[in-house]
Amino acid sequence: MPFAGYEMPLLYEGVIPEHRAVRGDAGVFDVSHMGELELEGPAAEGYLQARLSNDVSRLGDGEAQYTLLTNEGGGIIDDLIVYRLGRARYLLIVNAANRAGDFEWLASGAPRGCDVRDVSDGYALLAVQGPRSLERLGLAPRPAFSFEMGRIDSIEVLVSRTGYTGETGVELACMPDDAVALWDAILARGVVPCGLGARDTLRLEVCYPLHGNDIGPGWDAISSGLRFACALETEFTGVETLREVAARGPARRLVAFRMVEQAIPRQGMAIAGGGEVTSGSLSPMLGVGIGLGHVPVALSAPGSALTIDVRGRMRRGEVTVKPIYNPKEGRGRERVVP
């Protein structure tokens, strides 16, 4: 769209109403582009324990875990969710852009007794998120990060209590041939269809990092604020580096911030003092610019003043605690943007 010559992406106008639907009721996202890898065999658990940052041995059948695929430097090859389907069978749901690289990394090092398969073409994935999502789907409340087989109408789905919005919700995996019928069944229950633009503003408000923007292979997991996903008492790729960083404290940190002055931070903008914005947008719930960024540790404490170069204009922001917006506390708070 040649609007006034700017090259930034023009997305559709529904971001704010879609965002609001998820915070207030329920929305559905087609995230079928995400990758699915399966690891199976008697050596699968031990191999995953040696490759993933979190403690996979803590999972029982029907339980899932947020974890990281790390490199030798403790950098993040990908962030993903691992599902224990059975004692010797695991499903990894990974970022679409990293699907091939993750598969190669895992397949190339796999020991005997651990079969690694890319099964992405066998799954469609729909995320239904929002405070009324379970009620609208007729699903009983279940603990976060648990999953089970279920049915929506007559369609067989794997129902997982996971998501990327900070809201109560589920991700539904089904056979690709059933995806259209499942989508229609969800919409028939009054769930609002949402695009990936709203998914991005929702995850940013609750400070879930986006791989490729906020986290990546060049940034270690501790400095990236993902200490909670690192079981440093286990042995996995890069753990020694991560133990060192954890012991001496990181030199830089991924922080959340909100603007004090009117401006919208965007990815790539410089933060005075040697930082950089890695994700930025307007918070539809708070009505102010918000973002994530890497800053030197001296600027990383909540309350620290940041100065962001917004296309040549210096605008003030402030480091905040994560999440920037808390869905549980924020419910009913006055919205600023209509």
Binding site: A4, L11, G14
Partner: protein
């Protein structure tokens, strides 16, 4: 609530999707329905300073939606007399009423001859039909 598509007959247009309402030796400027529809709901308007000089076809400010930012292109040369403070405070007013409450700035026209270079409504609609 976004407005429905319209291009009023009493305005003149610039191909970068800006409009001008000529009022004697002054003009009121804004963004057309088409431009706003492409951007989505505005969440930020970075206005020029009062007194700032505008050059025809040059940038005089920025508007942003959640995901996109766009420069505002001046359809006429002039100097800024007034900024619509309501549009700074509540930029989405432009989506609701692009040619009314959503005006952006009022300028003193520097060169009346430039008015003749703007597109009439029919010519602007023809331009949109090609896109």
């Amino acid at each position: 609530m976004a407005a429905s598509e319209s291009y009023p007959d009493d305005l003149l247009y610039h191909p970068a999707h800006d409009w001008a309402r000529i009022e004697g030796d002054e003009a009121v400027l804004g963004v057309t329905w088409f431009g706003l529809d492409a951007l989505g709901e505005l969440v930020h308007f970075e206005p020029p300073a009062v007194g700032q000089a505008l050059a025809r076809d040059g940038s005089y400010g920025e508007v942003e939606s959640v995901k996109a930012v766009s420069e505002l292109i001046a359809p006429l040369s002039g100097s800024v007399l007034e900024v619509n403070a309501a549009a700074v405070e509540e930029p989405w007013r432009a989506n609701e009423d692009p040619y009314g409450a959503g005006w952006l700035v009022r300028i003193a026209i520097a060169d009346p001859a430039e008015v003749g270079l703007l597109l009439a409504p029919a010519a602007y609609r023809a331009l949109l039909a090609e896109q």
